[in-house]
Symmetry: C2
Subunit: 502 residues, 2 copies
């Protein structure tokens, strides 16, 4: 009860780069996360929910993107009683906490450990349009399984997940590549010497960054970066890897190695990595994945080997996966474009080595839930025009119990319903409220109706349609309003909702 | 690909006061939150998910507990390009963000605005046993409805919610009190002067803090704090409100005003507040709530007026609610005790006044989801012994596709199943893994079984039972292992799971 000093009014705003989610935005995402969790669970993955806060020490420098500054996290220092305490930070992904958990509980957890996690992560980055500093991730990873059967499982699970959330077969493709094949190609091109892994390490870094830009710069831009370098539109020059044209073409050939069938692609890749142990190993892994997929009935209409998948090749150490939606949507300017990637992942070694000194392999996938939701909206598979609750209006505020009884009846019949709780004096405000709530039906009972044992049922969807197109005469005849016996309330509302597809 | 300096290994630990949630802990909470959201939604409440991060300015000093230091939040300063930026903080509850959202979007939101929110909140407090710095809240609030019909709705919704998540009628009670009645009592006792609200403000603060300690100190302790003061066991003296014995008894009489029936309680309260306008108003509100509840069939076995509900009376401004579980559980020492409160709330004015200058009333409830889960566990209504997935073992690592086909079949039949993905060399390790996974069934097919077109099905639950009690002879006869035709795999697994209640 301390006295409060007069202060200027605070601004009612989210911090820059943060946003709120309302109503259907929340429910739709929740339903999608629950559906995804259902598939993950059926595959034997266990839920894990770590705290949002980790010590900076435990988070480490695990960001998948090499170019990202390390200070891209929200961090603060603990205030202990006397001394300055640990630095804490909000998690920036769900992989770093998995590494910490597996290191902390490795004696209690099963090995292999299949876990899924879904929740917000935070990035302390400059916000931009459509780019937020808090967003959802939805991950599944298998820790401690070195065999590519674990990778294949991730691919089939990803395919099942997409179909479960409403992307039909044919509208997506899970594409698989392998970092080891690229390493084999680099060996053949002469920028990787298995007997001296540190040699050419700078060149390989430039190669990795160059191929990662294939989508953005196209083959010629990548070719330039593999060679002497590239001048961009602003005139800035980026130094290249310094590969000869011949060397460059070997790398380019890798990305263009996709053939009509998986077998033909594998054959082509074998040609490209001839003589490289790691390269052959990588191609064999891709072949095994393709075989496992085929044996389980996942044909090339769902999962395919595609060496042009280069995103993540710098970060991952073995197989790399990407799920793309293949249907077209219209961009801001109305031009058709492919929807693109909604999930990505791959195999990464040494998940917990920085904690324990012990190498533990892991493979996993991260689904972009918000992009998937956007895709379903773009395809019209999620209707944003979800109906609101039935609104029971209040004609006589002393008869609130009667109105409450009506909403109880409706709810007991499984119909979302509410009584108007604002000031009931102005009836027009009640209908405006129902409108703002996107209510399909308003229920009205004044003293007269009560005496006669009836209620008025207003079909607001039909009413809105009539308001758009009807003549004044039609409007006055009020076809959108029906009087029914009080006992027929639920049945009549149900009839209208069935017609509205609600 | 920067070189990494040799660093000491980081500790794999959560920060102090934080914890991880595994498997069923996550799924059970998720199911409960979904069930609660279902009830809230049916009542016309809309989901709202705000960001975890708010500006410190927007969060303000909204903590319900007067004694809590204002620095109980995790906060840090934004690093803008040049200047030090805004102070940001993790939300400490879901009410402060609601206030910010309503102030920010009040022209777009319906009025009244019913919203629910569920998610973690963070408190920068000294962690203790069972006391964490991140925990879930699950709130529903109605903003902009001054009528107590909104409070009554919250009470019936709370009652429905408890029954929906598995607390049967009779095992809980929603108790309702009213801050206005206490104010009336204070007026009668002479520590509130309606014509000079600031007078006795210090005394009333002490009274509020005293009655809030009724549970802990008992009537005599509160009586002492209402009077001269109280010396606790350590010898420390807390100065009291300085009320005379007669004044003190009026306040004590308020908390003891509960009678056999709601009507009798209301009558007694009317006696206590005779002459106080606000007090009579408060009793009338309680009477209206009781009438609305009764009209909807919520009898005193579900919702009752109880003036001994004093928690929150300092914070709230009108009706106050608390849901208690009335069944007994055993405490750590095996003594029976009531489970106690699982939800609380009430009416608070001026939700957004600090942002807009405009007073907006609100009423709401917060459910302690983790306590509710603990209650269901204590009553044995949630089994912690949830079965894990069926494990298909790997006898021949070159036949992985066959094993994957088995898990696919099982999953398509709705049975959670996984193939063993560790090193298959040591079969004992595979069974140990299945054990750690709490698998109900292991499936085995070696080369011999494959040739004969059969699989071995190991009933691990029966096996564990036999291992506990069986003789060596019984053990050797392996009644827990059956051989069935490969085509009968799903049927046989289903038969065993049905027997295990899985």
């Amino acid at each position: 009860m301390a006295k409060q000093k007069k202060q200027p009014r605070p601004k009612a705003e989210t911090p820059k780069g943060f946003r709120d989610y309302f109503g259907a935005e929340v429910s739709e995402r929740r339903e999608m996360l629950d559906a995804i969790a259902g598939v993950y669970h059926a595959y034997g993955f266990d839920a894990l929910e770590t705290s949002a806060v980790e010590t900076v020490e435990a988070l480490g420098k695990f960001l998948p993107d090499v170019d990202r500054p390390n200070d891209g996290v929200f961090a603060w220092q603990e205030n202990d009683d006397k001394d300055a305490g640990d630095w804490l930070a909000l998690r920036y992904d769900l992989t770093a906490p998995l590494a910490r958990v597996y290191a902390q509980f490795r004696n209690d957890l099963p090995t292999p450990y299949r876990r899924y996690a879904m929740g917000p992560v935070w990035r302390n980055e400059k916000p931009g349009p459509g780019r937020f500093r808090q967003f959802y991730q939805c991950d599944a990873d298998t820790v401690g399984a070195p065999n590519v059967a674990a990778d294949a499982e991730i691919c089939s699970m990803l395919s099942d997940t997409l179909e479960t959330v409403g992307i039909p077969r044919g509208d997506y493709i899970v594409r698989v590549n392998n970092r080891k094949v690229l390493n084999g190609v680099m060996e053949v091109a002469g920028v990787l010497d298995p007997s001296d892994p540190d040699k050419f390490i700078h060149e390989r870094g430039v190669v990795l960054r160059a191929i990662d830009k294939l989508d953005r710069l196209g083959p010629d831009g990548v070719r330039a970066l593999l060679g002497e370098g590239r001048k961009d539109e602003s005139g800035d020059f980026t130094k290249g890897a310094g590969l000869s044209a011949e060397q460059g073409e070997i790398v380019m050939g890798f990305m263009a190695a996709k053939r009509e069938s998986g077998a033909a692609t594998v054959e082509r890749l074998h040609e490209l990595v001839t003589g490289s142990v790691v390269g052959v190993d990588g191609v064999n892994e891709l072949e095994t994945i393709a075989e496992l997929m085929a044996a389980q009935g996942y044909g090339s209409d769902r999962v395919e080997i595609d060496p042009s998948v280069v995103r993540g090749l710098g970060y991952y150490t073995g197989p790399v996966f990407e799920a793309e939606l293949t249907f077209e949507i219209k961009d801001e300017k109305g031009r058709p474009r492919q929807f693109g990637s909604v999930a990505g992942g791959g195999r990464y070694d040494d998940l917990v080595k920085r904690f324990t000194g012990q190498a533990v392999p892991a493979t996993g996938i991260s689904i972009g839930v918000d992009r998937l939701l956007a895709a379903l909206h773009a395809k019209g598979r999620l209707s944003s025009a979800v109906h609101g609750p039935v609104v029971v209006t209040v004609m006589d505020k002393d008869r609130m119990a009667d109105y409450q009884a009506m909403v109880s009846e409706l709810r007991n019949a499984g119909i979302r319903a509410e009584v108007y709780l604002g000031n009931p004096k102005n009836f027009g405000n009640q209908l405006k409220y129902a409108d703002k709530r996107a209510s399909p039906v308003a229920v009205i009972q004044g003293g007269d109706e009560q005496e006669r044992g009836v209620v008025q049922i207003k079909d607001l969807i039909l009413g809105a349609k009539i308001a758009e197109s009807a003549s004044h005469e039609e409007w006055k005849s009020q076809p959108a309003q029906t009087e029914v016996a009080r006992g027929a309330l639920v049945a009549e509302v149900r009839r209208i909702l069935a017609g509205a597809g609600a």
